[in-house]
Symmetry: C2
Subunit: 261 residues, 2 copies
């Protein structure tokens, strides 16, 4: 009976617990058996039980709340609708449309803004056409919802472009950074979006209070002026357990949609 599954013991313990989670026997937020209980259940050492737990934690299924125990992770994703941003006008100018939508749902948004001068990271340098020895202005923002961090939003500008402007002041820019850029003669009319999926760096994990087993989506936007000069790079980091990106499409012409099979 216990010999059914193949592979090492800790995998079978993990499989057993995973099945109990997926079947609903252990629902979201439920407490898992203690490590001690599992050692007697399966007749193994605590180290082996611990290995099984780690499998589940790394899958993002389980969280450990020391010393209370292990619990089935509860995931609540808020839907992020990029398309809204083209259509609606923000009701609260100091917030963007995403936060705006959440306010209507009764949540309390907040944010922190910090401005730094630094050397550009390699990906930013490449996209802005700068050398690693150049200097960029970074506006680092963390957005919170009901007190917990929700995503980060770091904007990089070439120093020479925004020198002395409002962008270097660590406060919210009511009319938007793009407006300021336009006033500086660098109006942004074209953008390239890139999304990559990976595990967070330790920095990102601490800034966003990301637990083990939670990946992030990095959304990078490079903004260009009319004549193709890059003037801004934005890096948004979205924790996977808190975001669901959603958008809608209507078939434009006779052309088919994305995939066929």
């Amino acid at each position: 009976m216990t010999s059914r599954g193949a592979g090492p013991i800790y995998q079978r313990i993990a499989d057993d617990l995973r099945a109990r989670i997926q079947s609903g026997e252990l629902g979201a937020g439920a407490k898992l058996p203690t490590e001690q209980a599992l050692t007697t259940d399966f007749g193994v050492t605590r180290a082996t039980v611990r290995q099984a737990m780690q499998v589940l934690v790394n899958e993002g299924l389980v969280v450990s709340e020391r010393p209370r125990g292990h619990f089935v992770r509860q995931i609540e994703r808020l839907t992020y609708r990029p398309q809204k941003e083209w259509r609606d006008r923000p009701a609260h100018p100091e917030l963007d449309q995403f936060m705006d939508e959440q306010v209507e749902l009764g949540r309390k948004p907040s944010q922190t803004i910090a401005v730094e001068l630094a050397a550009p990271p390699t990906d930013v340098a490449a996209r802005l056409g700068l050398a690693g020895t150049d200097t960029v202005v970074v506006r680092k923002r963390v957005r919170y919802l009901d007190g917990t961090p929700f995503n980060t939003n770091d904007s990089y500008f070439p120093l020479e472009l925004v020198q002395g402007s409002e962008i270097m002041h660590p406060a919210d820019i009511g009319r938007g950074a793009n407006q300021v850029l336009a006033e500086l003669g660098a109006e942004q009319t074209h953008a390239v979006d890139e999304i990559e999926v990976r595990m967070p760096t330790p920095d990102e994990a601490s800034r966003l209070e990301i637990g083990l087993g939670v990946p992030v989506a990095m959304h990078r936007v490079t903004g260009y002026t009319d004549d193709g000069r890059p003037v801004r790079v934005v890096r948004n980091v979205l924790p996977g357990d808190r975001h669901l990106i959603a958008f809608e499409r209507t078939r434009p012409t006779k052309t088919e949609k994305d995939d066929k099979q």
Copy 2:
């Protein structure tokens, strides 16, 4: 000197190795010191060194190739451009636009297709407006590039809708499943896209040969007819270490782009 970093020893070992990777001292594909070497370097047990290794593996920075050693992961992401699909016509009708693009780069694509009758997963059932006891037709496809799995593409249809049609045949549908749906009187004119980021399930991990520390993006498409009836749900699973989603935008009117700060 070794007392600088805070926290447990294994974290300091992991930090040390991470720094050496990020500094370039250990480049992509480089072999890390053996566990044995690290035990003597840091004066700890192999179990502690192993814990440090696991941190790096879970971050997706390092892969273990037993028994050759641990190596710095090499990531090569192919850019996936959803927008291309609206514009270009596929040169090879049996491939979609993504694969088509890769052929031009000299890569060899292939795919497997399996068709099953099954009960719908809960997310699919909810979007198709079905009960868990209903039956759906699933077309499961795995796409390969140069022999390694690249992504999966599972399409779910209500059984009653596609009963007896070409969709139930486990071969490629040259003119596209949407065309077949249209011939069945269920033309798809509207779609909702959802993207969520998470760790792969064990099933997904084995189907896509995903290593530890690699998350996935799940791209779910629900297709509707003109009168709002859902006729199809597609679930694409994209491993994070192989995909970079990219698209471009030009400012439509006077409206600002996505974010300001």
